[in-house]
Amino acid sequence: MRTTTGAHYGLRDWIAQRITAVFMAVFTLVVIVALFTGVAESAERWRAFFGFGPMRFLSFLFAMSLCYHAWIGIRDIWMDYIKPVWIRLTLHSLTLLALFGYAGWCIEILWRL
């Protein structure tokens, strides 16, 4: 059977993987700095920190970034190692479904605060 390439995508994911990586690194720094200022001293302060408007915005973006970043990374692993197309497509689908589920669950927890 002929091998076909030329799907004409990849650049957007490659850029997105880098942007999400930078965003997650910055977010992690923000959380580390906040930890040094004592936001984790009590459950109330921790809750207030994540309930703060801009933090809700950033933590939502963090969850989205993590899922998009993980999607590209895990998809790359399936593309590298899994040859049968139907198994690969199934794994792609399961990964996407799992990541959507995790993203919703994560946001639900964070926004409940």
């Binding site: 030329g6 995508y9 957007r12 590298d80």
Partner: protein
């Protein structure tokens, strides 16, 4: 003349005779003038003429004697015997089908090389003498045109091992950028289109094995980064 004994362990496989590959241990007397690994392998061949390997220029220009030396790809003719830990383990380049002993079938490697159209495309009428470039534009090709297609890099790349039929590989992508960067070429956009694919270009995960093994000191990872950079510039 001073001599020394060097221990070798060589991958042997003759599909006409062997059911599976095996490793042969050989001790070899080398003279002080036998400095390069290729000198030693030529002597090994004199001792046991059933050993098969490729060689040609013996000075790092033809790329024929690329092999896996103590676990790392390199050219036998550029490798000093005395720098190697003994026994010196010689294997064929990894990831490609073995034809016999240290000789591999490089069809997939060259198919990928051909897929990037490794020649200048310019539809303007031929000038009387040559297509000129400014010295600055010519400098862009340094570190790209020197590739000798020995395949050390592509066969050290796990992405090429897993998808040699779809991933262009570091050598092919270095050559691709050589023509993308060439101001005399008129098909830059088509060349980028040809590579914009999750397999052809984006299988590179920047682990830089290619840079580590290149016997010519070239940097395919940097060239791949520049291709991605150009794609990004034209897209955003």
């Amino acid at each position: 003349m001073e001599t020394r004994t060097v221990q070798f362990r060589i991958y042997r496989y003759d599909p006409d005779k062997d059911a599976k590959p095996w490793m042969q241990d050989i001790a070899l007397e080398l003279e002080s003038t036998d400095r390069k690994l290729l000198d030693a392998i030529v002597k090994l061949k004199a001792k046991d003429d059933s050993i098969a390997f490729r060689r040609s220029c013996r000075e790092g220009v033809c790329g024929s004697d690329a092999m896996n030396i103590n676990g790392k790809n390199g050219l036998a003719c550029l490798t000093d015997v005395d720098d190697l830990k003994q026994p010196i383990v010689l294997r064929p380049l990894p990831g490609l089908p073995v034809i016999r002993d240290l000789i591999v079938d490089m069809t997939q490697f060259f198919n990928q090389y051909h897929s990037i159209k490794p020649y200048l495309v310019n539809h303007d009428p031929l000038p009387e003498r040559e297509r000129l470039q400014s010295p600055e534009d010519r400098d862009e090709l340094d570190g790209l045109y020197e590739c000798i297609l020995c395949a050390c890099c592509s066969t050290a790349c796990p992405s090429f091992w897993w998808n040699p039929d779809k991933f262009v590989g570091p050598a092919g992508l270095l050559a691709a950028y050589r023509f993308i960067a060439d101001t005399r070429d008129q098909t830059t956009s088509e060349r980028l289109d040809n590579l914009e694919d999750p397999y052809r270009l984006f299988r590179c995960h920047t682990i830089m094995n290619c840079v580590d093994v290149c016997p010519k000191g070239l940097n395919p990872t940097k060239a791949i980064g520049k291709i991605k950079d150009m794609m990004m510039r034209r897209a955003v």
